[in-house]
Subunit: 428 residues, 2 copies
């Protein structure tokens, strides 16, 4: 059902009073998200479509490197968190059940996955493993802000690898670098992979995937063959902060604000040790399993795409993430010949497999065009009275707001679909 | 990746010590699920595939009646729950954040969806709406039991409809009855739709979808043109409990234990009233919105399928839910001619789009066959030394364990795939 007259797309002329980030303003105004409480957000239908486009890309690339999808619970016993020393983290939500047992709400799933692997893996034959899931995470975030950029609940794809030794871990890690690079390219975002901070995860090394944009809370420091999180950069010998700039040995480095959209960690035996995840090697000797973990936040990728490509009229989705490929605008009121022509075009596109949102509402052209620009689907097709005279469907590319050559209104069905497909493929 | 040598399928010869329900025993033994704590379960890769088959069926049928998918949070402010009077429900998990604010973990989403609709819907033009999501639910269940049948966390598809009046609500409700009937038929389960209890949801009427099986905690009372939940039946004039049997006016009614796998409720204005969900009608008069809600538990459908069709050797999936269509067993060790032939068959099937799990492990035939019967994929193909002599692939249908006519090992690729497809379509 993609008739706007029946679709829940509550667009707004004004952004929320407390919104500063572009993505916060535009995602609310375009009817993609709504807040239920501080840091607690609902994805409305059009927003959820975008979110799930990211999920589909991530899933495909994870499966391509041999990832096995599963699902681990959010609600967990506190015990494994006590063993790893993470029970005391402030961001971890703790609660008790009706019997007084201590429970936590998982903020990541190292404890859960290692708990299972400790029971399931016996020998070197059971390794390596790449396990992943998409699951809700909960964090008692002190300062939820910027729409879906910093929330108390969000979906994360987290993957975990299990290897016999460090060399195996490095191999699995390299596989993930490749998969993550491909995911990022496919989203259509501008992004950097930088040296990261191991932070609360612990471990032997990390990389962060960063999307440069104004709303970014992090800073990426870039030089010739060098890219790092600013915190990491400052620990690098020779890098100093000089006001707003950074230098390496006196050479100026570029600094960009950026959103962290993914992070990957070499954990080593940080979790397998306290949780007893061991295996028997070929000599029958007991060894600890080597781990790494790999997170990615679809919501942040969505927000980063809004930040990077929006103009003063609204969102401009990269085509891989757009909620719909085509936003079809009917200018004629119900009962007019131009409306009938547009209805017919809608049916042709829909039945031809084009992902089309049809604005069939009884509103004026101004409101309809404004909503189309706000929502930001890559192609806008318009049929009005003029179309009947000229026999042409008006076409606009959202990014840059440039008119494209019109399509024939009364042409062959197959050639119309082919022309739309060609236009689509030409988009960024 | 569906080579068993690389796949996490930890089968067990013995069921968990505390397991009574067949589905609990077999789902653990077949490597589909593992427990992290009381009522907190992880879906391992093969189990998750089955779960997601149910999700795909439910999503298709919801979309077909005009449902709009979205996502609402699990973590929620307590306030809307206070307004509806449900904050005091014992099963509702309550917690406080680091600032001392009261939060809850949603057990269903009437409060959330009505909170949003109260803000988003203005006029009769915005109605009707069918909104749904798949989301984790949390319940402080006093007696978690029977594997995934009664847990503290589970995924539910919950849908909510919003209408101008009671007639609209009845129309939307009837649409859902149709969609639910189709979902149930597609799963391959035996099921009943019975008159249900409104319970903690409140409202004007309800139906339950019940899957009869031994592990069922509910009872379905069946008579000529009559089907009801036992609790409801006892409130019907003329129905009495007489030991283990029920009568209507002295006529014996059949009673079957059953699992509740779905439930639908006519809520009326039970939630729109306290949460202020109103609209302006065509006369500009303010009216309350009429609601209904519709739940379905994929995990319970999976467990019910195990309960209904298992035999003494393991699970027998209906084909709509099977983790894999074909379980391919290689009898030859790596390096033998029969193993090469089986490898080639695997590639042919996989590239031909057949959903195949390949047992390429270095184990004896006994263990391999036992695992195949435990996991319960509908078709088992076997290639061993005898296959080279006869030129035949051995075929067994899991349900009933009957041999099917063998397939040609060295035939045309296309005719092999067509034969597998025909076999598949002949299955229940």
């Amino acid at each position: 059902m993609t008739r706007l007259s029946e679709y829940l797309l509550p667009t707004e002329k004004q952004p929320p009073a407390d919104a500063e980030a572009i993505s916060h303003k535009l995602m609310v105004r375009a009817g993609l998200i709504r807040q239920m409480g501080a840091g607690m957000w609902t994805w409305l239908p059009a927003g959820w479509r975008v979110h799930q486009r990211v999920v589909a890309i991530v899933r495909e690339e994870m499966d391509a490197i041999g990832g096995q999808e599963m699902l681990m619970p959010v609600l967990q016993p506190a015990e494994p968190w006590r063993k790893t020393g993470r029970l005391e983290i402030d961001e971890l939500f703790k609660l008790t059940d009706r019997k007084g047992s201590e429970l936590v709400l998982a903020m990541t799933h190292e404890e859960a996955v290692t708990f299972h692997v400790a029971q399931l893996v016996r020998s070197y034959r059971d390794l390596p493993l790449i396990l992943y899931h998409f699951q809700v995470k909960e964090r008692d975030e002190p300062r939820p802000r910027a729409g879906v950029l910093r929330t108390r609940e969000f979906i994360m794809k987290d993957a975990y690898t299990f290897d016999r030794d460090q060399a195996g871990m490095e191999e699995r890690y390299a596989l993930h670098v490749g998969a993550y690079d491909r995911m990022m390219d496919r989203t259509g975002l501008r992004w950097y992979r930088v040296e990261g901070d191991v932070g609360m995860m612990g471990g032997l090394g990390a990389h962060e995937y960063m999307a440069p944009c104004q709303a970014g809370e992090d800073e990426v420091v870039l030089g010739e063959g060098y890219a790092a999180n600013a915190e990491v950069a400052l620990r690098t010998p020779g890098v100093e902060r000089d006001g707003e700039a950074y230098t390496r040995d006196g050479v100026a480095l570029t600094v960009e604000p950026a959103i962290e959209i993914g992070n990957i960690f070499k954990l080593g035996t940080r979790y397998s040790e306290p949780l007893g995840a061991r295996y028997l090697d070929e000599q029958g000797e007991e060894k600890e399993i080597w781990m790494a973990s790999y997170g990615i936040g679809p919501a942040r990728i969505v927000a980063a795409a809004v930040e990077q490509f929006a103009d003063e009229h609204g969102i401009c989705w990269p085509r891989a993430l757009a909620p719909f490929a085509v936003h079809l605008v009917a200018l004629g009121k119900a009962g007019t010949r131009e409306r009938d022509a547009c209805d017919e075009l809608y049916t042709t596109l829909r039945d031809g497999g084009v992902d089309v949102l049809y604005d069939d509402r009884d509103l004026g052209p101004g409101e309809k065009f404004a909503d189309a620009e706000l929502l930001g689907c890559p192609l806008r097709l318009t049929v009005g009275r003029r179309s009947l005279e000229s026999g042409e469907i008006e076409v606009q590319r959202r990014r840059g707001r440039e008119a494209a050559p019109p399509l024939a209104l009364h042409g062959e069905r197959a050639s119309l679909l082919a022309a739309v497909d060609e236009l689509w493929r030409s988009l960024p």
